[in-house]
Symmetry: C2
Subunit: 337 residues, 2 copies
């Protein structure tokens, strides 16, 4: 019942060596004679000594913890990335401080600051948009930062993503090939680069390649919620639109269920293809066709990249560092063959 925490000094005294030696055996750095090493280890065991990482952090200027900024853990897309991040972090002996931001700039800025004051060794940022203020605080931070599943329109920060533009272009083309003339593009906030510069661009490119006129009425801006999907569906149908490319699975589920609830058969009368291939694509009836993204891997690779940068293993960290992972498309039941 050692209430008082035992320190390195206690171990040193008890085993008749200096604290430097204890530090050495604990860190496995530099050589220590096997016999004294064993002696120290025994005392550590006996006293149940556990190094104080805070003291270590102060002395070494490394905390072995990284900050992870996430819009909302409750969102399966981001949660999947987070899982990949944490697993790789654990693999490299890092811990993560997880902070929800709701994708709000103000919260993001605040949390970046507290993370920095906690001396994290690096930050993984997930967010809808890298605003100028965010970009500035990234620049001022003296720790490396990597984006996961998030794009920086200015490409000023290393990131890992898929090629959203190509992916959306692919599925839009497929829908066009199914003879759909009017195809909706249903996304989140169009002020966000990921939606405007990448996904909408892909949609537009597909249209123009097939000589289809772009119609602004067919693009729907939402909050990417199930409810939003359900609510905009009437409007979609009223315009005689026959297919939709959707950027979020919950959102897509809302549209799908509205159709079903209104006796519009999917995929016979209406086709839907969504973007994130989260678990819910399998749970709806019909199951949803989707772009497939290696969600876990995006997080994992981002964390791996961060460890490399923190380690100085990367020649030029300002160099091009936008890794694009492979995406795919899975045709389930919300699209025709």
């Amino acid at each position: 019942m050692n209430k008082q925490n035992v320190t390195i000094y206690d171990v040193a005294r008890e085993s008749g060596v200096s604290m430097a030696t204890v530090s050495r055996v604990v860190n496995g750095t530099s050589n220590v004679r096997p016999s004294t090493k064993k002696k120290v280890m025994d005392v550590i065991e006996k006293l149940n000594y556990r190094p104080n990482e805070v003291a270590r952090g102060l002395a070494s200027k490394k905390t072995t913890t990284v900050g992870v900024i996430i819009p909302d853990v409750t969102n399966n897309y981001f949660a999947s990335l987070a899982r990949g991040i944490d697993d790789i972090a654990a693999m490299y002996k890092y811990n993560i401080i997880l902070a929800n931001s709701d994708g709000k700039e103000k919260k993001e800025l605040k949390v970046i600051n507290t993370l920095l004051s906690k001396q994290v060794d690096g930050i993984i940022f997930m967010g809808n948009e890298i605003t100028p203020a965010i970009r500035k605080s990234f620049k001022d931070a003296n720790v490396p930062i990597v984006l996961a599943g998030s794009v920086d329109s200015k490409k000023t920060v290393p990131s890992v993503n898929i090629n959203y533009k190509n992916a959306i272009e692919n599925v839009t083309s497929e829908l066009i090939n199914h003879h759909n003339k009017k195809i909706a593009f249903v996304s989140g906030d169009l002020r966000h680069s990921i939606n405007a510069d990448h996904r909408l661009k892909g949609y537009c490119d597909a249209l123009s390649k097939h000589d289809i006129q772009y119609n602004q009425n067919y693009v729907f801006e939402t909050n990417e919620s199930y409810k939003d999907g359900y609510e905009i569906s009437q409007n979609i149908v009223d315009q005689k639109i026959s297919a939709a490319v959707v950027t979020d699975d919950s959102l897509a589920a809302g549209i799908l269920n509205w159709m079903t609830d209104h006796n519009i058969s999917v995929p016979d009368d209406f086709e839907i293809i969504t973007s994130n291939d989260t678990q819910i694509t399998e749970m709806t009836r019909p199951k949803m066709s989707s772009i497939t993204q290696p969600l876990y891997d995006i997080g994992a690779v981002a964390m791996r990249l961060l460890t490399k940068i923190m380690n100085g293993d990367i020649e030029d960290k300002y160099k091009e560092n936008d890794v694009l992972l492979q995406y795919g498309v899975i045709n389930r039941e919300s699209t025709r063959k």
Copy 2:
């Protein structure tokens, strides 16, 4: 471009006071003459000084960070609790170190240790089971611990939950009232106290109150996955079971969809009621009836309780501290009226 971080010493010098005074204005503790306070604040602003929380943690023995152990962030049930935890933590100026355990004792033990070595001020634990080893490490930890959405059969740790037994008993009774004679109980690992001692108990109590014979063949032990639900359904149907009480929403969705896929009408031919009221209960067709739990609140209340204990605001922290939040039942479309 202040590459070198500015320290408390720098602002002390720059503003012509001692570091003790700077510390005082930063912490707002004890009195400082308004004029000198302003002077210091200005310098802090000018130098863009940000207190080093690690140094502060070492000196004060408080890190204002708490550890959160979670089986899997990717699981919406736990993610919802985590969101409640983080929000309240932020409200009280704490950060959370989030660690996934997969509910595996070995990982849990390991992570408890690293959390403790990082000097967290407290821990919120979510897990399926408090094993003797876990209980021991909790006892040895010299920081408070609170369970969220998790039960300790020995009631040795403060916790916040709902009354799982009563909830399951309620819904089972309802199914019995719908004239179902054979009702399945589909749960996760029955070695876990929450399933065996609480939920199964509730199921049994409902049966016995209605003079229905308990039949072991009607209880299904699973991994609580969608896939498991889908796979056990044939067995359920083969036994002429006409309703199921399920402990997890994905699991329930699996059963529901299997029924639908096999032309068994829910709820006409088969009734299902699930337990967690996560988002997917609204996404399936028919929508699933469910026990409703205040998921976010369970996390939030757990965190609030932890802050109180950390603060010493609770008289006797060894006293009965099992808070039970209100649950409800919502009848959607997978049960008859």
